[in-house]
Amino acid sequence: MDRRDFLRRGAGTTLGLSGLGALLAACGSQTGAPAPEAGPPPATTPGGETAATTAAATTAEATSAEGELPFPLARPDSPVTLPIFDDNPPIDSGLEPEAGPLKIYNWIDYIWKRKVKDFGKEFGVEVELSSFYTMDEAIAKLATGQTDYDVFFPTPDRMSRLAYGKLLRPLNLDYIPNLANMWPVFSNPFYDQGARYSVPYTIYTTGIAYRRDKVKTDPFELANGYEILWDPAYKGKAFVLDDSREALAMVLLKNGVTDINTEDPALIEMAKQDLISLIDLVNVKYGIEDYTKIPEGSAWVHQGWSGDMLAGSWYLPEGTKPDVLGYWYPPEGGGVIGNDLIAVLAGGKNPVLAHHFLNFMLDETNAYENMINFNGYQPPLTSLSAESLIADGFIPENLAAAAVRQEDFENAYLLLELSPDGQTLWQNAWAEFKAGV
């Protein structure tokens, strides 16, 4: 199962059942006290340094100017060099690795365990792998300051928050020569100039996954491929990703708006209305199981991630040929691209070992084997090209568009951090779509 999937299922059940238990207990005792709803975990105050925050605006209409962000919002045209704080310096060069155990905190099912073992063998240490289901959940846990994980897998949109929050340790790139194996852009990405805090792990695009044997028009032949989701012919078989940013960004792109990090209320309103139109038009559903729904045929068109479709052939029912899977990404480029990163955590006890681990995962062989044997998501290795992945048979012809090319990164759009007011607009628009009609 996909790493993005298990999270809400597992968490949902636990919360739900524990709530039920409490309710039974409360009712049985005849005290008449209802148990609390599944609420947030008992809130803990992270660190002590964020005292003067009570004035921060929280709701839709509270658009006060005093909610200035304490960090810059990285954009391709306004790159950010993350600061290095005196009380959180990088490690010196040439140190001996620690004795471990190395603690890795990663998305669920997002690394080939064999590689983790190999690393442990090479350095003679134990390696402990822990996992999380959402970035929010992971950051909430790290923010308690009670963890001592060494290695973390963040997304670019959170880099400023993580660096300014001093959760990450700045990197000493002397330990990570293998960064040179990756696309040059990642030595100096706009969200972390100079790769001060992060190295790349995987890249993927968001496009439309579809059943080639069920759709009557090939999205590649449409003037606007996104329109296929609005085709009433696929009523009941159309899905958008259950993600406030991804779904609305797709609608913006469909309507020719390329600033997918816009905070313009009019544009977000337009995207919301167009998204809501899908409810009556095609009885749209939401989900993140494109990698099973498309292969099994319960979805014919599903907004989806490139890496999920590459893994999709594993989920085909017996008798269904792999060439029924299709993946559309704008052939001229300019779609949504995403990348996951690896970073070293400030709270870890093995910073040197952690640097070696980053270098290990950027090794050509390790990165490649991690992808083809387990992960499915492509590492941005210079030695890999879309053509070589297709020639090697890892990517079949019918999913050629799921390969990510180096030039894609230049002309595609990343979903990036928003201001508090912007985030509020996006979240409420999504909640309104989810409320139905």
């Binding site: 709530g19 609420g39 992270p46 709701t59 909430a140 139905g436």
Partner: protein, 298 residues
């Protein structure tokens, strides 16, 4: 006096501690989160513990979207109430005869039947809902049976975002928690009371209508409360059996807002509003059971 005065009240200490630790403190935490903010860097909730610091913005937002037409939460709340009401009534219709049969007529099979009823619930809720997905899908057994018996002409896509599938999921998920209190009560009804009714000329039906049913009102109310409360907070049943925006329940909205980001206080405020609503339900339950107890005493 034989015992010190504090002895009997002291017996309530465990219950009081339990209530403080697992109800009062968590509830106040949620309220403090709803009245608080999030820190600007890591966006973790900053609860406002001191009522002097309370910021009612999140509540204002929830009320605006709840009580004025077209708000985000209005139709979701209305839908949730409708789903839960239907599911509770259906559960009662199913649970009462089952509980009645087991309590009065099952004889030596009683224990076995009870175990059989409860056994499936040792399997996690998630697994049982995933099983329903298989049963309800287009080539699943539900469709096969319905087509085979001629009720349907062709298979229907039950997972196509239907309210009926969500309500079915709710009923299936919670009906045993209705059966158990009903059974426990009906099992204790004194058979002599019913014999007296029959002796005095009541038909079987009238004995049920005039004696058993009124006697079991508190148990019915208890069952209703026990299953209605968790149903109101359910969000994975609509996610799994429908995934359509048209079947979103309030639990889904709470889950979305609480998961992270700038609007965690809105999620916490929704929890508080939902709890206030449920408290009204519970207050009615307490009132009704107290009245029933008074009547029985007369």
């Amino acid at each position: 006096m034989l015992y010190p005065r504090w002895m009997w009240p002291a017996f309530s200490a465990p219950a009081v501690l339990w209530l403080l630790a697992f109800f009062v403190v968590p509830f106040y935490s949620i309220l403090a989160v709803a009245m608080g903010s999030v820190d600007p860097i890591l966006q973790q909730p900053q609860p406002a513990w001191n009522p002097a610091d309370w910021d009612p913005n999140a509540f204002t937002f929830v009320f605006d979207n709840l009580f004025y037409g077209g708000g985000i939460f209005q139709k979701v709340f209305a839908r949730t109430i409708a789903y839960v009401a239907i599911a509770v009534v259906l559960s009662l219709v199913i649970a009462y005869p089952v509980a009645y049969y087991i309590a009065r007529h099952a004889g030596r099979w009683k224990t076995l039947l009870l175990v059989g009823l409860v056994a499936p619930f040792f399997i996690s809720y998630l697994m049982r809902m995933l099983a329903w997905i298989n049963l309800l899908q287009e080539d699943g057994w539900v469709n096969e049976v319905l087509v085979w018996t001629g009720i349907l002409d062709e298979p229907r896509n039950w997972l196509d975002g239907r309210a009926s599938s969500v309500v079915l999921g709710l009923v299936y998920g919670y009906v045993p928690f209705m059966i158990l209190p009903l059974y426990a009560f009906l099992d204790r009804v004194d058979p002599r009371v019913l014999e007296a009714a029959r002796d005095l000329g009541a038909s079987r039906f009238n004995a049920f209508r005039l004696v058993t049913l009124p006697l079991s009102t508190p148990a019915i109310l208890a069952g209703v409360v026990i299953i209605a409360l968790p149903m109101f907070g359910d969000y994975y049943t609509p996610d799994l059996l429908s995934a359509s925006p048209n079947t979103t329940m309030i639990g889904n909205q709470i889950n979305f807002y609480l998961r992270g980001g700038q609007l965690v206080p809105v999620g916490a405020a929704l929890v508080c509003v939902l709890m206030a609503m449920l408290l009204i339900l519970l207050a009615y339950y307490l009132f009704a059971t107290a009245r029933a107890a008074r009547r029985l005493a007369e």
